[in-house]
Amino acid sequence: MQSSTIRKWRWVHTWSSLVCTVFLLMLCITGLPLIFHDEIDDALNPAVWEPAKPDGERLDLDQILELALANRPGEVPIFMSFDTDRPVVNVTTGPSADAPGTAMHFASFDQTSGDLVPPADVGESVMEFILQLHVDMFLGLPGMLFLGAMGLLFVVALVSGVVLYAPFMRKLDFGTLRTNKSVSIKWLDYHNLLGVVGLAWFLVVGITGIINTLESPILDAWRAGEMRELIAENKSAMVGTQSASLAAAVQDAIDVAPDMELQFVAFPGSGFSTKAHYAVFLHGNSPLTEHVISPVLINASDGSVTDRRTMPWYVNALSLSRPLHFGDYGGLWLKLLWAALDLMAIVVLWSGLILWWRKRRTNPEVLA
């Protein structure tokens, strides 16, 4: 590679990484506790809750819905979801089905008794703060898109780093750490070694992070495309009272897709359904298809199955990118590895910053 070409790549690498480094350091530091959010939640909220009748018969979804609405007079149901490890049904209600998130109320019910389940929220505000900082820096969509742009710069820095790796390593064996040389050379060796070893993980977490920042535009695109199409095709359905049984609607949806499992229900008028249908969202039952969701529309007036759709590829990409980004799809060992690689990323970012700073100090005219 010619020296002028190396200079150009070096400029790309230096500035693409410098611009995003501070934000990536923040993402790596806040990402560390988020990897262990389940363990932290469990430690702060020891499992003291037990269902009232562990072996008793479970209430059906209509009974739970009735209790939820009695608990919040004047409100309407928006979503219903289900805990996977205990007989608990979660109902989100609000003043109207299209109410904003801030006006929604979330309550959990014991499916064996109908009693309210106390929220396990010790430490929740801290984790919520960390999550919000990590996701959008409390700036909503602009914050998310900004972090997505930083993710893009990170990927550019990784690619340019790989291009520069060859000329820097042409006389060094893999694994060489010149710790007895100058501070800059020592940090350069750490930077190159840890950067190239963790490359696959950095790329995957970076790219899935970018996809995650596009969550709102992706869901908006689905609503504007597929959802609008669904509504147009089912315009004939009368917007009436929700007289059809919810339990029967959910069972019908499961019967239509026996190879799938129930994920959540969106009530008529909510952001994930039409004004006349229950949208029952199902997900695959194998590890590979678990993140692939499919909505079944059930007419809320007469309970008839109206339509079943698969989600478009871009929504499936979003569903798959979440676990790959947070590393919470395996057991504790995977999380520990995720944490180790996160720390590696911090060292790579920090060493890059040190290298730039030292070079700038020794030669102020050369900024890159």
Binding site: A166, R170, L177, L193, L199, A200, L288, G330, G331, L337
Partner: protein, 64 residues
């Protein structure tokens, strides 16, 4: 290695990085498609990349 300059070839430079990349990616995606069932196996694949790195660091240091 080039006889003239003593420089490593691209193949030599990228051999270990590519091995690390392949093992890490296999671990990442393998764990995703099998989830917790074969978690340890794929964590093992993942760890190969890190162990390889440590082994080379120690080996190079010994040679020096």
């Amino acid at each position: 290695m080039s006889r003239k300059t003593g420089a490593l070839t691209l193949r030599q430079i990228f051999f270990f990085p590519v091995v690390c990349f392949v093992f890490m990616l296999a671990g990442l995606l393998g764990a995703l498609v099998t989830e917790a069932k074969l978690d340890l196996l794929f964590c093992g694949l993942f760890t190969v990349a890190l162990v390889l790195m440590l082994w080379r660091v120690i080996a190079v240091r010994r040679t020096d």
